[in-house]
């Protein structure tokens, strides 16, 4: 006796293919998502490259077809492949995630959502180097690596805010001083408000 349950992820998240396009038979056909992505790539690429070619030349020519077609085609074909590390992800997705990490995804989490100061963030060098396991923080988190390279250059500065130290200075006041302060305060209270004083003067 045993119990068996099925995983239906592939069944439910089925990837449809486009077998024909505008009456044209595409055989096995590309994945619909890839098709849309390819069209977007072409559109964006042409939007970037065509205006300059008209501006600085005579527009696209058969000789420059490769320049206009190859990059988006390569991105569509290669970018839609799945990554080796995570077969659920496409290379284009992983690339965008990497870009996102370098730009904003590295933001530290301080006290669950406190505004992060610039000095708190992971340095650009670490963001990039960290991807290859060589960041300073990595060395810092690993005492043995610090052990192997105890030079000052390798010892990264902690990225936390510097420690704040308080040095309270005790002052002593004599009775003369405190008596004078008390007298001043009494005089201050006894004196009428300045605004009234002005009015009186005017009168």
């Amino acid at each position: 006796m045993s119990r068996t349950g099925r995983t239906l992820t592939r069944t439910i998240e089925i990837e449809p293919r486009q077998h024909d396009l505008f009456g044209m038979d595409l055989g096995e056909g590309p994945l619909r998502g890839q098709l849309v992505f390819g069209m977007l790539c072409f559109a964006v690429w042409l939007a970037i490259t065509l205006p300059p070619s008209f501006l600085f030349g005579s527009g696209p020519s058969p000789n420059s077809a490769l320049w206009f077609l190859a990059p988006p085609a390569a991105l569509t074909v290669l970018g839609w492949r799945r990554t080796d590390e995570n077969p659920r992800r496409r290379k284009v997705t992983q690339g965008l995630l990497a870009l996102r990490y370098v730009i904003s995804g590295h933001e530290p989490i301080v006290t669950m959502g406190r505004h992060v100061a610039r000095s708190d963030a992971v340095r650009l060098r670490d963001r990039v180097a960290g991807r290859f396991g060589k960041g300073d923080l990595l060395a810092l988190a690993d005492p043995t690596r610090l052990h192997k390279a105890p030079t000052k250059q390798r010892q990264a500065r902690p990225r936390g805010n510097p420690r704040v130290t308080f040095r309270p200075v005790a002052r002593t006041y004599g009775t003369d001083y405190t008596a004078r302060v008390v007298q001043q305060e009494r005089r201050h209270k006894a004196r009428p408000p300045r605004r009234h004083a002005k009015k009186e003067k005017a009168a």
């Binding site: 099925r6 239906l8 904003s104 995804g105 530290p108 992971v122």
Partner: protein, 893 residues
Amino acid sequence: MSIKEKAGALLGLTGDRDAQPPTYRAIAPGLTVTDDAAWAWYEVASTNSDLLGQVARDQEQDKADIALGQLAGREWHLKGLWGHVSGSTYLTGLDLDAEGDQGRIPDEDARRVWHAERADDLDHISLPTKKRLLGVKLRERDGANRRKVKSAFGLDDRRIPDAELRQLQAAVQQLGHKLNRTVWKVRIAATEDLAWSIARELHRDTALPVPEQDVISGAPLHRLCSGKVMPMSDHLVFLGADGRPAGVAAVLALTDFPDEVSTPGQEWLAVLNGLETSALSDDLDADGMPRGAMSVLAEESVRGIVPKSRAALKRVDDARKTAKEQRKSAEKGAAGEPDDDITQAEDEARETLQRLKRRETRLVHTHPRIVVSAADRIDLEAKITAVQAAYEDMGITATVCVDEQRELWLETLPGDRVRVPDLGHWQESSAFTASWFWGGAAVGSKDARIPCIGYTTGSTQSLVRFLATESVEYGDAPVIALTGRTRRGKTTAMQLMLLDVMLAPTNYGRMPWAVLIDSKGDAGGIAAAAAEYDVPCNPLRIDENAQAMSGQLDGFLTSDPDHAAETVRDQLRLLLGSGELAQKGSHYVTRAVAFAAEEPKPRAWKAIRALGKIAEGSSDQVARDVYETLRAVTRSGWGRLVAGEEDQRVEMPTDSTLTVLEVPGLFQALPEAEPGTRTSPDDWDDRQRAAVAVLRGLLSWCTTVAAARSLRGRPKVIAVPEVHLLTATQDGRAFLTQQARMGAAAGLSMILDTQDVSGIASMIGLAESISAVFGFAQATESEQRRLASMVGLHEDEDTLSVINNLDTYVSADLAAEGESENLVRRGHCIYRDRRDQAATVQFRLPSQCLIDLLNTSAAAQAARYEDEERRAAERERIHGDEDDEGEVYADAG
């Protein structure tokens, strides 16, 4: 769907990746409230699953499938957390300051020392325990935009209104009642547990805030969340309060599951329990020493939803329609026939639809993540490798998601949301419950006031609480059986149980009464241990050869006065034998005992003296023969103990203490009889008859004292090691059965230690009265089967193998493997508690001092005797010196 969302969906970048971390507003019992949502939290009870038979496991899993139905339509979050058993928490649970009706007992300090030692040991072994929290989303709160608007008008009140809090707590209670009736037996999570679950994620050693009226909010909550997490590309670094890294972690997503998940074999969350890294690593630690194997202690965090049946049907039907459309479209074109994937998907979708309609299954959408934490990167990598290898064996892919560690880590926080939805899975409910997330090893009392005797050694480790008198206190069966081969730790375990009874926190001023009848002579260490821990103890050695023991077990002194004459008469008749002399001389014995009973101080030897007078005045040779025989039998050996003239007799202890009765050789002298048979006293020799008389005297004393008025309401326990020698005799069996049946009524518990499982199992009256069994290793298959049956396990090969290997020593160090083959693991057994839960348990003595004292090995006993002699000599010398000094002073005076 906006254009941005559509583009995100196309590129696989859906989900709230950029959402703010959860901002906690309040933590209350079973409740976390953030800006966005309110979640109910429950603690899932660990089911004792390690030793379950296949049928029981299947039934349990089916129940879990049904339990999932209670969560239909709700978002839920399952979170596993590893913690350590803390000595201070253990001590707090024992509630040593509680006072009973009779106030504090005199041995208050002794009790504290005893339990503090156990608490120190728990801190020392740092036992990892797993807590499983189940969160269920109750409702959404203000969205980000609404909060902004409210804030603009100065309405952003950060305090949770009392009315809302009450409403939410009512919802928590209501859902808790429903879920408590399921197989998970959830209970509402304590505020402290929830606070701890948040604080520990940040790797900060901050003191948990004390809840005010059970709610943590405001500044204490803010302090609780203080911490800094640096998301690196493939891991996270946690910074301590000093800005230095306090630890690292990585979040793995289970990205690929096999098409079918089966149990046993693919328990994909239970696999995390007891996972260890490879011991063959070349990596060195900070001190330059090899790192060796270490516990991985990876934690699961699974967010999911069980769609309602209509939504599930729609989802699957959409998939079926897409697959069908693909098939038709392919058939129209040059492709001819669709991909196998499409065909398979259509078939599966159709089948699933049918199953859903017949309510044979449910659909579950989950996002499983595994969090691996370590002190440094090298440890982290070793642990990740161990996790990935464990999943690889099951056909599951665990992937460290590069560049998404921040989002995945935030996802694991209580009260957050699914941020990376594209790595989720759709499964049938039985594929999810195959994870067995609620499985583990748990056995013993759940009462925190009951002391701990050891820990479970199964897939999860937890404290094992046991008190020999607890079962009787609850009106349950009174017998505790310890079975197993010799030298496996039974007697030591028994001694530990007795000491626990004497020093139990639940005595509440009632001084317990405990007796250990030691016929082997190896349990003497308990007296020394009792002295060490200030437990009042009466060690008494009843030696057949000692003159001083003459008349020690005289029936008139050991029995209830109303029945004393009968006891003595039976004992004397027994000593007489069962031949012609006994039959003819029986009435002389009766008359003599009657004379003796009328004396001011009745004694058995006075009955023999009276018999002598009767014989003198009688011409009957039989009377003279009876007198001569009894005189001869009671002059030495065992007979002298029951009817010898008392010389320096020590009073048998009757007060509330721990009494250690050492009767060396008594059980061995008893006549053996196969269970279910009776041997005739005609076949016994004089020595055997005398031994039986002594045994009856001893057992009679136990019964009388246990029923004494002065001991009513007190915890009472009789411990008998080597019971297999007793169960081999008719008298022994009769006594055990009688005590087992009547003991509970008198509040008397019995701890029996035997090497013969069959002997106990064959005595129906006794077997029915067993409330707890501690089964140590057995070598023969028949005994293994008997034990399996006694502990309520299925008698299959796996169980027999577990029983056989209970004493196999396992060394953590591979280098010591050769040496470990020669060692025997002691104190490791299968414990079946009174709720019929069974798990493997390791007894643990809390200190080296106690280990030395309770050691039953021959060498330890010899050392102990030497030590006692040395101490006695020392005492004598000191006393001598004092006397000398006294003389000196006297001279001086």
